[in-house]
């Protein structure tokens, strides 16, 4: 795939996933020069960014190094701690394992983007889950915290969409929302390590924002 990529995706395209669905064989992997970098458009917290990225660059480093969004943390750089968790097209993912170039057309939400806009804030500029983390003292060093928060939001959405977990009764009816008991929260957040041991308080904070 040669030749530079001319992004024609509009912000609405990005938001609605149309750009992502469009076959990009015409050069989304376009290579300015050495063939080892590509022009990529990613919407982050509602703002589209078009960047020439080294193909090796993962989303986490794009956020932290290119965009200065250091809320997503690097704890292990290999998908084993969850500190880098962000939402891509609404789903929680480990941003340390996603090549940014493959996310062309995606919409990313990081911890910095949670309190933007009117929805879901409690008037003090925080997302209710951020507020609950403060109320419950659900962190100490704070390094896993953005990942815990993004992961919890993803997990709440998954449960609402009827996604089971390992502790869900296998006989539970498919497609129905799964009630988030403490065991469910613990299992679903187990991809987010916390070495300070804030787990019990994190579970309480998540409970605070359940519908």
């Amino acid at each position: 795939m040669d030749g530079p990529h001319h992004s024609t995706a509009t912000r609405d395209d990005v938001r609605h996933g149309r750009a992502a669905a469009r076959p990009a064989a015409d050069g989304a992997g376009g290579a300015p020069g050495d063939g080892h970098s590509s022009t990529t458009t990613i919407e982050v917290n509602g703002v589209p960014h078009t960047l020439a990225v080294d193909n090796r660059r993962v989303l986490l480093d794009l956020l932290r190094e290119d965009l200065g969004l250091t809320g997503a943390k690097k704890g292990c750089d290999q998908g084993q701690c969850g500190a880098c968790t962000v939402l891509v097209d609404g789903r929680r993912v480990n941003s340390c394992l996603l090549p940014a170039v493959a996310l062309d057309g995606s919409a990313v939400t990081t911890v910095e983007g949670l309190a933007d806009g009117d929805e879901g804030t409690d008037g003090d500029g925080l997302h209710p889950l951020q507020r609950a983390f403060l109320d419950r003292d659900a962190f100490q060093c704070g390094y896993c915290t953005p990942g815990q928060i993004c992961s919890a939001l993803g997990a709440i959405g998954e449960a609402a969409a009827g996604h089971p977990s390992h502790v869900t009764d296998p006989g539970a009816p498919p497609g129905r929302p799964v009630p988030l008991t403490r065991d469910e929260i613990r299992e679903r957040l187990s991809g987010n390590l916390c070495r300070c041991g804030a787990y019990p308080h994190i579970v309480e904070a998540v409970e605070d924002v359940l519908p």
């Binding site: 064989a25 080294d54 193909n55 969850g82 789903r91 170039v101 089971p164 977990s165 296998p170 957040l189």
Partner: protein, 332 residues
């Protein structure tokens, strides 16, 4: 990580062509294992061919009663799929026993099958490993190998396959669909992964340039009681020390179908054929299960520090089978 080119494939043919043009390439789907291995220097592709947007992301019921799962269906979506939960509960349970919510949201069916061992010697490029670097030796054979194989290993490699999903697929008699420069073909899931033998560098039967396009779950095992149980060092987010997937049909008080596969104990999901044969026609009692599983495990050759795995997989397998026989839902 070495610099690499990135190519997004718009069709299967484009993917295959791109590979032909760049034989040192790797296909990229979820990338959760591949990117890790590239960062570690274990994988050094000159190009990534992105197949994540190929139209392989659907689950369809086929007219013959089987279920076709596209290669890029995400593990989380597959585990939550109503038909999978209803007809192949072992598959859903196995998927949910693996990795984390974040990883399952990205990892794909095809990628899960193709993930590499988590053997620490394989992952460390400064140490010998015949799988990573044929002929360099096996660091685990006399090294730290509590997590390694007790069945089917060779002097060249004692690694285990880390997948939970693949264990369920093997027990359920699924088939793996492949597409490559030589065209399309299918391979039984239970024979998709290889034993190490003299060539531990080959994990699977896949040929260079071939791509997993999907997995077909057969009508044969649809709706039969099936379960998956995994034992691990911590309560979640850990690879299996040992696991068992089983599907069991009892007709008129006798076992009429048994599919049993062990995970975490061999270079591939270990389909327990001898146990299955012993159970066919037998009355499904705990004693019968114990006898059958012991027969299977008579082939076990534990290493210096992992004899516990023989007991562990035995207990787990018997527990899973007894649970299925009593029709109690599998509980871990």
């Amino acid at each position: 990580m070495k610099p690499f080119a990135y190519v997004r494939a718009g069709s299967l043919q484009e993917a295959a062509d791109a590979f032909t043009a760049r034989p040192g390439a790797r296909y990229l789907a979820g990338g959760t294992n591949l990117m890790d291995l590239m960062k570690l220097g274990v994988e050094q592709p000159e190009a990534l061919i992105d197949v994540s947007r190929l139209p392989l992301d659907t689950v369809e019921e086929l007219p013959d009663g089987s279920l076709r799962v596209g290669a890029t269906v995400r593990n989380s979506d597959l585990a939550a799929h109503p038909v999978v939960r209803d007809r192949y509960p072992a598959l859903s349970r196995a998927l949910l026993a693996g990795a984390s919510g974040q990883l399952r949201n990205v990892a794909t069916t095809g990628g899960n099958l193709l993930q590499r061992t988590r053997c620490p010697y394989f992952q460390d490029v400064t140490k010998p490993c015949n799988k990573r670097s044929p002929g360099s030796g096996c660091g685990a054979l006399e090294g730290v190998h509590r997590d390694h194989a007790v069945l089917g290993h060779s002097e060249h490699c004692v690694a285990t396959h880390p997948s939970d999903m693949a264990v369920a697929l093997a027990a359920l008699d699924a088939r793996v669909e492949l597409y490559g420069p030589g065209g399309a073909r299918t391979v039984p899931a239970a024979r998709f992964h290889r034993l190490p033998g003299d060539h531990p560098e080959r994990d699977t039967e896949i040929l260079p340039g071939e791509l997993v396009t999907g997995v077909v779950l057969p009508a044969l095992t649809a709706g039969l009681p099936s379960a998956y149980r995994k034992a691990r060092d911590r309560a979640s987010y850990a690879f299996a020390l040992a696991s068992t997937a089983a599907v069991l049909e009892v007709t008129d008080g006798a076992v009429s179908h048994a599919g049993i596969a062990f995970g975490g104990v061999a270079h591939r999901p270990w389909r327990a054929r001898r146990a299955e044969e012993a159970l066919l026609g037998a009355t499904p009692t705990r004693a019968a299960f114990e006898e059958a599983v012991d027969l299977e495990l008579s082939a076990a050759r534990p290493l210096r520090d992992n004899a516990y795995k023989v007991d562990l997989v035995r207990n787990v397998a018997v527990d899973v089978l007894a649970g299925l026989a009593s029709r109690t839902p599998d509980r871990v």
